[in-house]
């Protein structure tokens, strides 16, 4: 059970990494001049966004592999990634909104970046709605792979279109460029922590899917 050992190791690693990350964010990173303490949310927000992107890329790649190889395990990989991506992008929207209220003075604005994440979120909600509606395992895998591919390819289009649209209705905003060296280090640490968290969540959920599968087979055997 190699996966089990990796999961345990990652779990204990995260027990150290996450508190350390929060310590760095709240105690070590300097306070931003203009935005103040609110800016600290960036360390989480950006890391979550990167985790979500990683997960959705995982959905895309494993969906293609599934359609090519027709092995159901790739569907488990895809749907596990989609779950993590959906969770992270929800948190990205929430943390972004919490930051935007004091800084932009609104909870939400129709900025291209925000809009792109929101559309992405809707697409993967649709992904799970469809999965919930199909009983046949293979069909479910096949159809959701199609959404996994189209949804991902659609993202640059949404980004591009909303950018153009927004340049016609000017609204907001450029975030600052140069980062303080300590801030940069904290940001990198936070990104690394969330990358480990993403991998941990993936392995954990994937293992769970395997166990569920085995349970189902056993149940069927008992019925027979």
């Amino acid at each position: 059970m190699k996966t089990d050992r990796t999961i345990t190791i990652l779990f204990f690693l995260l027990l150290v990494l996450i508190p350390l990350d929060f310590f760095l964010i709240f105690r070590v990173a300097p306070t931003e001049k203009v935005m103040g303490d609110v800016q600290r949310i960036f360390y989480l927000h950006v890391s979550l966004a990167l985790g979500a992107l990683l997960a959705f890329t995982g959905v895309f790649v494993s969906s293609i592999i599934f359609l090519w190889k027709k092995k159901i395990v790739w569907d488990s990989v895809a749907s596990t990634c989609a779950g993590i991506g959906l969770l992270f992008s929800t948190l990205v929207l929430i943390t972004g909104s919490m930051w935007a209220r004091p800084i932009w003075n609104v909870w939400w604005t129709w900025d291209p970046r925000l809009l792109t994440v929101l559309i992405l979120w809707f697409i993967y909600i649709g992904y799970f709605l469809l999965r919930g509606g199909i009983a046949d395992k293979f069909k479910k895998a096949q159809y959701s792979a199609v959404i996994g591919i189209i949804g991902y390819v659609d993202i640059p289009l949404v980004r591009y279109a909303t950018k153009w649209w927004n340049s016609i209705h000017p609204l907001l905003s450029q975030e600052g460029g140069g980062l303080d060296p300590v801030m940069k280090k904290v940001m990198l640490f936070s990104l690394a922590t969330f990358a480990v968290l993403t991998i941990f969540l993936f392995l954990f959920r994937f293992r769970l899917a395997g166990i569920e599968e085995r349970l189902e087979i056993l149940k069927k055997k008992m019925e027979d």
């Binding site: 649709g126 469809l130 189209i150 279109a161 153009w164």
Partner: protein, 225 residues
């Protein structure tokens, strides 16, 4: 038979079905008329503001009426697994998709012309009929995008036990770039900024080509048994 020939055969089959059953097109037309009336209550457009609202109102109608029509078209194929008999024939999945998409495109265009006409009548906005030659490229390209994505997703949604109810949830988020392109370019043309609409029309061409390419690549996985 050739790729295009097969697609046209499928298109003719759908047209015949529609002529005999009158199932989707009439529903689409009634729905658009109904939404027009509701928009009248909601916004109460008058001569001064109707041109700034027109594009938005019209594309909302196109989207929802289109969903209804495209949903019906694929339910007709899923009923009693009618599509299987097409698949067992020598017609390729790609031609089948293209034929269905062309049918959807045709029905959507008919519905849109009908809606534009009634919009002009009900909201006293004859200008829109005069501008039709200019509106047509953007309208066609936007509708093509609708039909390409809609055909694919209507087959996806009718495979689930929720049926066509699922279509808007899958279809609307993905088709956002097309809606943006369609609304913005129409709005520009109606409000005397036709020059700027050109770049949106180019964008719509790019989107349509991408959607066509991807749909042709993946459609066979939706009807494989």
């Amino acid at each position: 038979m050739s790729f295009i020939g097969d697609a046209l055969t499928i298109l003719i089959k759908d047209l015949l079905l529609e002529l005999r059953g009158r199932e989707s097109l009439s529903l689409m037309l009634f729905l658009s008329l109904l939404i027009l009336v509701i928009f009248n209550f909601a916004f109460n457009p008058d001569k001064d503001n109707v041109s700034s609202m027109a594009a938005g109102i019209l594309w909302v109608i196109f989207a929802f009426s289109g969903i209804l029509g495209m949903g019906r078209m694929s339910v007709a194929e899923r009923d009693e697994d009618a599509y299987l008999s097409v698949i067992f024939s020598p017609v390729s999945a790609e031609s089948f998709y293209l034929g269905k998409a062309l049918g959807n495109l045709l029905f959507l265009m008919i519905m849109e012309c009908f809606t534009l006409f009634f919009f002009a009548v009900l909201f006293d906005f004859e200008k829109i009929i005069g501008l039709l030659p200019q509106l047509l490229p953007a309208l066609f390209l936007g509708t093509l995008g609708f039909a390409l994505v809609g055909t694919l997703f209507s087959f996806l949604s009718t495979a689930s036990r929720y049926g066509e109810i699922l279509l808007p949830f899958l279809y609307l988020p993905v088709v956002v770039p097309v809606i943006l392109g369609g609304v913005t370019s129409m709005d520009m043309i109606l409000n005397g900024k036709s020059g700027e609409a050109g770049k949106w029309i180019q964008l719509l061409v790019v989107f349509d080509m991408l959607y066509l390419a991807i749909s042709l690549l993946v459609f066979r996985y939706l009807i494989e048994e």
